[in-house]
């Protein structure tokens, strides 16, 4: 009963913050912007939040996170629209939606596909927020007993899982992760005052700002890549003739698929490294497996839209659990959100739940509000969103460069940071060309300094004995899990090859 009353108090506190006029407005701006970037291919939530980081520097943190939460959820909604109508996924997590969604549009059932995606996203987003609300405090209780050894092990797990999962070639994912950690070592070592990899450049003494790194890799790198690979911006006409609603049969087939997709998505989201794309692939596979007519998949089966769309939304909620409760992000977008927390001098984790409970519960409550706003915004305004595809891509990307430059400049009012962004943008271009994933690098930069700090603290406590990571049961278990994350896919591949 005590726990329930506590939850009620926290929710009241959260809704008090989320429904304050300014925060409500920020939530509305967030979901609108999120839906727009979800619709636009090439511009995703990680890029958008990183572009906004410098602008929100002077804002109240609660308002900024309500804005970011809205963008994250909104992008998951918006990504489906273009998948369904023009077979052009706005986000990687909506690729599966295109398979059956676009077929439904060709058969004149595009309206039903859009409706099942939007309502499924609402159901999944709401359920995931309930689960976030219930599981995060429980995880916080558990994490209160964690010391530097356990945090070190958790960070190693997150880095390994993301590095291992985001690329077809494990060596590239691993290299990307180490590259991020290496970038994180630039600057003065806070414990001893020694300069590391600064090459006598004063601008590097403070290390590379995580905001500068995320803008460079995600935003500028994306524009350079777009410039090199898409000469003429394709403006595909999208048409929607069918009414946006579900028949009784559509409801009967969609509801179980939403439920399955939600569960798959939430738990995939909680796991480090998996994220929305993997969640939607898994949900599609589950739908096909449980279906009595698997042959209908790829030919306009509504379950093939309902499941993955529920899954990618639920995974967004799931991925916030380890971020808020432990301070460990598991995806590109949550890594940028951790960078945002760091920008405000906040470290997510058990302490934040007690010290900044208004901020945390305000964010959680705002996710409920965002879901309602998204449902209201999405279905009636669908034709407006489709028109966004007519915005010339060339101008859009040129504007991203301007925003990136000025945002970074405004952090410290110097052009050195802008030059660093440029160099990182070129680096990101070559990484993309060679199939080296960017998200593990960003996670490495964000987590690297913390990883080293926990490592050195644990070693100091143990008197320099590295065995401490294996003798403490929780850290030993997490490290064993990390080894499994590396070995299991290798064994599976080896068996497949035989």
């Amino acid at each position: 009963m005590g726990a329930l009353a506590q939850l009620g108090d926290n929710l009241a506190l959260g809704f008090g913050a989320a429904l304050a006029p300014l925060n409500l407005l920020l939530g509305l701006v967030g979901v609108t912007l999120g839906t727009a970037i979800g619709v636009l291919p090439g511009i995703g939530p990680a890029l958008t939040i990183s572009l906004l980081l410098p602008l929100t520097f002077g804002m109240d943190p609660a308002g900024a996170f309500i804005l970011f939460g809205g963008i994250y959820y909104g992008a998951m909604y918006g990504g489906s629209t273009t998948s369904i109508l023009v077979r052009m996924p706005g986000e990687a997590s909506s690729v599966m939606t295109a398979l059956d969604g676009y077929e439904m549009t060709r058969q004149g059932r595009g309206g039903a596909a859009l409706a099942t995606a939007a309502i499924g996203s609402f159901v999944a987003g709401t359920f995931a927020t309930v689960m976030l609300m219930l599981t995060a405090p429980a995880l916080v209780e558990l994490a209160l007993g964690f010391g530097p050894t356990e945090y070190f092990a958790l960070m190693v797990l997150a880095l390994t899982a993301l590095g291992g999962m985001t690329s077809g070639a494990p060596a590239k994912g691993a290299f990307a992760t180490f590259l991020g950690l290496a970038i994180g070592t630039i600057g003065i070592d806070l414990q001893t005052g020694q300069a590391r990899f600064t090459f006598g450049v004063p601008g590097l003494l403070g290390g590379l700002n995580v905001v500068v790194v995320t803008v460079g890799l995600f935003a500028v790198g994306e524009v350079f890549w777009h410039a090199a690979t898409h000469r003429v911006s394709r403006e595909t006409p999208a048409r929607l003739d069918a009414p946006v609603r579900l028949t009784a049969d559509d409801w009967r087939r969609s509801v179980p698929a939403w439920c399955r997709g939600t569960l798959v998505g939430f738990f995939t989201g909680v796991l480090p490294g998996a994220g929305a794309t993997v969640a939607s692939f898994l949900a599609y596979a589950v739908e096909r497996r449980v279906s009595k007519t698997p042959a209908a998949f790829g030919h306009g089966a509504i379950e093939g839209v309902a499941g993955p769309e529920a899954a990618n939304n639920a995974s967004a909620g799931g991925s916030l659990v380890p971020l808020l409760a432990l301070g460990i992000p598991g995806s590109g977008t949550t890594a940028v959100m951790l960078a945002a927390f760091q920008m405000y001098g906040l470290q997510p984790g058990p302490l934040l739940f007690s010290q900044e409970s208004g901020l945390i519960w305000g964010l959680i409550a705002s996710l409920y509000v965002s879901n309602v706003l998204l449902l209201v915004l999405n279905l009636p305004l669908i034709r407006l969103w489709v028109r966004l595809l007519h915005v010339p891509r060339s101008l859009l990307f040129a504007a991203v460069l301007v925003f990136a430059t000025l945002g970074v400049y405004s952090l410290n009012n110097n052009l050195f940071d802008v030059a660093v962004v440029y160099v990182l943008g070129v680096l990101a271009f070559f990484m993309r060309r060679h199939g080296v994933p960017l998200a593990p690098t960003v996670l490495g930069v964000v987590l690297g300094p913390l990883l080293e700090q926990h490592f050195r603290r644990a070693m100091a406590i143990s008197g320099g004995d590295p065995g401490v990571f294996l003798t403490r049961p929780v850290s030993a278990a997490i490290l064993a899990l990390t080894v499994a994350v590396v070995l299991v896919p290798m064994l599976v591949r080896a068996r497949g090859a035989r």
């Binding site: 002077g58 070639a169 070592t185 090199a228 060339s394 100091a460």
Partner: protein
């Protein structure tokens, strides 16, 4: 016999990783301070990780892998335009540099509608100015002339 692209990449990365490791060895460790782990160990471990994954990338590279086609001319010109923009911000300041850059970059990225490009560029320049300066009170580069 052409080297697979991943092997060429690995060769470059091995050199880079070696340079990082060399840098890690040169970090001076202060004497007399008690610390189980100094400032050098972590970079050394990272350097080893970089080197190992780069070597593994080279070993596991397959000949079939192909790199995506890239229009080098467009990529280089738009990157150069961006570099010129950063330089122009320092020289002539925000307003002229940004309006000029937006027109140039959008044309490099494939836009072919002069009237639209000019109008939208000026509109974006003005609205970004409004958001940054007026709404958020942030400073924008004023350049040597400003």
């Amino acid at each position: 016999m052409v080297m697979p692209p991943d092997r060429r990449l690995a060769a470059v990365l091995i050199v880079g990783s070696g340079a990082y490791l060399l840098g890690a060895f040169q970090i001076s460790v202060p004497e007399g301070q008690y610390a189980a782990v100094g400032p050098q160990l972590f970079p050394l471990l990272i350097g080893l990780g970089l080197l190992t994954s780069a070597v593994y990338m080279g070993v596991s590279a397959t000949a079939e892998a192909r790199l995506p086609a890239v229009q080098w001319g467009v990529a280089a010109s738009s990157a150069l335009a961006f570099l010129a923009y950063i330089a122009a911000l320092g020289l002539v300041g925000y307003l002229p540099a940004t309006a000029g850059f937006l027109v140039l970059e959008s044309r490099l990225l494939g836009s072919r509608d002069w009237a639209r490009d000019l109008t939208v560029s000026v509109a974006i320049t003005a609205s970004v100015y409004g958001v940054f300066r007026v709404l958020l009170g942030l400073s924008l580069p004023s350049g040597l002339l400003g």
